[in-house]
C-alpha cells in the first residue's frame, strides 16, 4: 500500500476568485500581513502496490485525464512517505 498525493492549483496567471475572497476575509478576522492566498485541491490516491516510478506515471496520467483541467490548472505528483 502506498499513498500518492496530487496537488492541483490554478495556473498563476488565472484569477483565483476563491483565494481572493479568503484573503479579503483574513484582515477582518485580525490576521494581518497576508499579501496573497491561492486555493487549490489535494488528492490522496491510495494504491494497492508500491509507489514506484511506474505507479507515479499512472497517477500523472490520472491527473492529466481527470483530476486537473490542464487548460486552467497545473498539478504536482509525489509519493507520501
Amino acid at each position: 500500500m502506498a499513498r500518492v498525493v496530487v496537488d492541483v492549483m490554478l495556473k498563476p496567471e488565472i484569477l483565483d476568485a476563491q483565494g481572493q475572497a479568503v484573503q479579503r476575509a483574513l484582515p477582518r478576522l485580525g490576521f494581518d500581513g497576508v499579501v496573497g492566498v491561492r486555493q487549490g485541491k489535494r488528492f490522496e490516491v491510495e494504491l494497492d502496490g508500491p509507489a514506484d516510478e511506474a505507479a507515479l506515471e499512472r497517477v500523472r496520467a490520472m491527473a492529466e485525464t481527470l483530476l486537473a483541467n490542464t487548460v486552467i490548472e497545473e498539478f504536482t505528483v509525489k509519493a507520501e512517505v
Binding site: 490554478l10 488565472i14 484569477l15 476568485a17 476563491q18 475572497a21 481527470l66 483530476l67 483541467n69 487548460v71 486552467i72
Partner: protein, 228 residues
C-alpha cells in the same frame, strides 16, 4: 418528418425539461437522451442543458465529460453533429475539449441570477442563423461558475475567426472580453452561458420583456436541418 433534437439528462441536470419544451416550441421533435445510454437515437442535433451534472463534483462538467452519452456526442461533433451546450452544457463542452477555454468561479463569488442583455456577435453558427449579427437580446443567466477564461492567444484566435457568438453588454461575472458564448471552428458546436430555453414564451420569459429572444437558437437549428 420533423427534425429530431436530443436533450441529454445527466444526474443533476435541471433544465432538460425546459430545453425539450423549447425544441417542441420551435417545431422540432424533442428526444430525451440519457447519460448512461451511448446511443444518440438518430437525432439530428444535441443540446446539453443547464444544471449541476454529477453535483459539479471535481469541476463543473468534469465527470459528465466521461459519461457514455458524451463519447457519442464527442464523436458526432467531430463529424459535424450540431451541439449546443447551455450553462452547465457549456462547461461540459469545455471539459470535453470540444470548445477552448474554461468556466471558472464568478468574479466576486456571487451566484448571479438575472436577465442580461447580450449582443449576438455571430450569425454564422448552426445555432444562431436566425439572429442578425449585432442584434441585442435579453435572456437570463443563473450560475456561479460562469466566468469564461482562456489564454490570450486563444481569445485572439476566437475574435479573429469570428467565433465569439455572444457578448454581455454589462459583464456580470468577469468573463474575458465580455464573452457569453463561443463556437468551434466549424460552427456546429456552440457553448452559451445564458439560458435561451428560459426565454421562449410570453408567459415564462423575461419580464417585462422581450420574453422570447431565446427562441431563435432553436428555430435556427431547425431551419438548417430542414434545409439540409
Amino acid at each position: 418528418m420533423a427534425a429530431r433534437i436530443g436533450v441529454v439528462t445527466f444526474p443533476g441536470t435541471q433544465d432538460d425539461q425546459d430545453a425539450l419544451r423549447a425544441v417542441a416550441r420551435a417545431g422540432a421533435q424533442p428526444v430525451p437522451l440519457w447519460h448512461r445510454d451511448p446511443a444518440l437515437h438518430a437525432v439530428d442535433a444535441v443540446i446539453l442543458p443547464g444544471g449541476f451534472s454529477y453535483g459539479d463534483y471535481l469541476r463543473a462538467g468534469a465527470i459528465a465529460r466521461f459519461s457514455p452519452v458524451m463519447q457519442a456526442v464527442i464523436a458526432g461533433a467531430a463529424d459535424g453533429l450540431p451541439v449546443l451546450g447551455i450553462c452547465n452544457g457549456f462547461q461540459v463542452l469545455c471539459e470535453s475539449h470540444l470548445l477552448p477555454g474554461a468556466l471558472l468561479r464568478n468574479g466576486g463569488m456571487h451566484f448571479v441570477n438575472r436577465d442580461v442583455k447580450l449582443r449576438v456577435e455571430s450569425a454564422a453558427t448552426r445555432w444562431t442563423a436566425h439572429y442578425e449579427p449585432g442584434q441585442e437580446i435579453v435572456i437570463p443567466i443563473k450560475n456561479v461558475d460562469g466566468r469564461y477564461t482562456a489564454a490570450e492567444r486563444t481569445l485572439d484566435e476566437l475574435e479573429a475567426e469570428g467565433r465569439v457568438v455572444a457578448r454581455y453588454l454589462q459583464n456580470p461575472n468577469g468573463s474575458a472580453r465580455d464573452i457569453a458564448g463561443i463556437a468551434n471552428a466549424q460552427g456546429n458546436v456552440v457553448g452559451l452561458m445564458p439560458h435561451p430555453e428560459h426565454a421562449i414564451d410570453e408567459l415564462t420569459g423575461p419580464y417585462p420583456g422581450p420574453a422570447t429572444d431565446g427562441l431563435p437558437f432553436f428555430t435556427s437549428i431547425l431551419k438548417q436541418l430542414v434545409d439540409a
